[in-house]
Symmetry: C2
Subunit: 239 residues, 2 copies
DNA sequence: CGTCGCTTTGACACCTCTCAAGGGGGGTGG
DNA sequence: CCACCCCCCTTGAGAGGTGTCAAAGCGACG
C-alpha cells in the first residue's frame, strides 16, 4: 500500500528491500477523514504519525481574532505529523482539506525503526527537515514577496510537489480547495487572492478554477514568483 | 565545553552520562566567526554541523531585488545547521550576526551517533523539529500579525529562548543587532521597525536600544504580541 | 574632529484590507 | 422537478498600514 508513496524518498536516496519491509511492517490502520475535519489538535498527546495516501491536508494555527494561518500544505506521500514522533504533541492543528485516506504509524513502531534501522531513521529525519525547508520558503514569501509573487510561487511549488508523486502533468493539476484556503496559506484575504488570481489569469500565466490549476505559461509563472525549486531538494547534490 | 549547552535538551528529556560522553566525543573544532560573516552558503556541500556556543547567528535568504528575509535566529545552545546532516547542502545562508564561537560536529560522527545511540538521535531530531516549530510561528507572525504584534512577539520569543540558556533576566537581555536585522526577521522595512519600536517604547512595553532589550511590562508585551510560548516546547507534556 | 554606520523623523505613495453587494452553482427538500 | 439556500466567487469603493524617498541627528571610532 505504501510502495508508490516511497517514490518521494527514493528520489533522494536508495531504500533497501529490508528497509521497505520495516516501514511496511510499521504501518498501522488505514483511516479516512472527511473534508474540513480537524484530526489533530494543538496540544493533544499523539501516539501515531500519519502518512497521507490520498487527498490534501493542511496544518494551521488560529489566532484569537479568528484569523487563521496555514503553515503547511501536504500532498500524498507526505508525513504531515511525522514530527509528532519526537515532539509528542503539536503546536498546531492538522486538517483534511479534502476527503483523505491516511495510514497511521504508531510511535512505538517508529521508535523500533530508530533502534534497528539508522539509515531509514535518517531518511525519516530528512523528511521532517524537508518540511522545515518548505516552511522557510513560505517565510520568505510571507515576509518579502508581493501578493502576486507569493501566489505564483505557491502554485509553482505545488506543481513540482504533485509532479513528484505523479499527480500533475506538465500543464495542470487538481487543487480542490477554496480561495479562502489559499488566502490562509498566503497571508492574504480571500478578496485579494481573488483579484490576484484574476490578474494571473488575464496575463495568461495560470488559471485556478473549479478546483483545478491550469498553467498557461510555466516559464513566465516561475519568473513571476521568482520560483527556484532548489529548496525542495529534488537533487541529491547541489547544482 | 558543551555541558552547559545541553541545558536546552535536558529541559525536555534526560540525557545519560553515556550519551553526554558520546556527544562530547563527536565534537570537533572550535571555530570563531566575525560579525556579519556568512559561513554557510546555500548549495554548498557540508561536512559539519555547528553548535553555537557564544554569539547570535541567523539563517537567511536573499531575493533577486536585494531584499533579504531572515528565516531563523539562533542563540547559544542552538544547532543552526544540524539539518545539514540529513540534507547535505542547505537552501539558505548562515551568518554570524555578532562575533561567534561555535563547535563543529563532523557529519561522520553524527552518523555514528545515529548508529549507536538511538535515544540521543531522537533528541537531535527533536532539536530540528523545534526549529521547524519556530519557523511555523514566524509564518504566523509574517502572515497574520501586524508590525507591532510581530515585533512584540519576536522580542518575547527571544526573551524566553535566552532565559532557557541563562542569558536573560526577568526584565532584560542583550540583543546586539541592528534595527535592519530585526526588520529582516520581521518582513518589514527598517524605517517601519524604527517607528514600531518607538511606539512600544512610548507605551512602556519594551525598550530596544544600544543592543539591549529592556522589558517594561512583560505581561502587556506578551499580550501585545499574543505571545504563547507553547510552541517552544518547554513542557514535556501539553498543558 | 571628521567620518561612517545606524537611528530617527517627515511627507507622500501604494498595496492590501475592509465593508458591502451581487452572481453562480450544486445540493436538498418539498 | 423545481425552488430555495448556502457556500463560494466576483467586483467596487474607500480606508489604513506599511513602504519609499529624503534628510538630519547621533555616537563610536580612528
Amino acid at each position: 500500500m505504501i510502495e508508490k508513496h516511497l517514490m518521494k524518498l527514493r528520489i533522494r536516496d536508495a531504500i533497501s528491500a529490508e528497509e521497505e519491509a520495516a516501514l511496511a511492517a510499521a504501518a498501522g490502520d488505514v483511516v479516512r477523514y472527511a473534508a474540513d475535519q480537524t484530526f489533530v489538535t494543538a496540544g493533544q498527546e499523539l501516539g501515531n504519525s500519519t502518512l497521507l495516501l490520498e487527498g490534501l491536508i493542511c496544518r494551521y494555527k488560529d489566532l484569537s481574532d479568528g484569523q487563521r494561518q496555514i503553515t503547511a500544505l501536504h500532498v500524498p506521500g507526505d508525513f504531515p505529523d511525522l514530527h509528532s514522533f519526537t515532539l509528542k504533541y503539536l503546536d498546531h492543528n492538522i486538517m483534511a482539506l479534502t476527503p483523505c485516506t491516511v495510514v497511521q504509524f504508531p510511535h512505538a513502531r517508529l521508535q523500533s525503526i530508530t533502534e534497528q534501522h539508522p539509515h531509514l531513521t535518517r531518511m525519516l529525519w530528512f523528511m521532517t527537515n524537508l518540511d522545515a525547508a518548505i516552511h522557510r520558503e513560505w517565510e520568505v514569501s510571507l515576509g518579502r514577496r508581493s501578493a502576486l509573487e507569493r501566489t505564483a510561487h505557491l502554485l509553482c511549488e505545488l506543481h513540482v510537489r504533485l509532479s513528484v508523486v505523479g499527480l500533475a502533468s506538465d500543464r495542470e493539476y487538481a487543487l480542490p480547495i477554496t480561495q479562502t484556503d489559499l488566502a490562509e496559506c498566503l497571508g492574504l484575504t480571500s478578496v485579494h487572492v481573488n483579484r490576484v488570481l484574476k490578474d494571473l489569469r488575464e496575463r495568461g500565466l495560470v488559471e485556478f478554477r473549479g478546483g483545478k490549476v491550469v498553467i498557461g505559461d510555466l516559464a513566465e509563472l516561475r519568473r513571476a514568483g521568482e520560483f527556484d525549486p532548489a529548496y525542495l531538494y529534488l537533487e541529491r547534490r547541489p547544482r
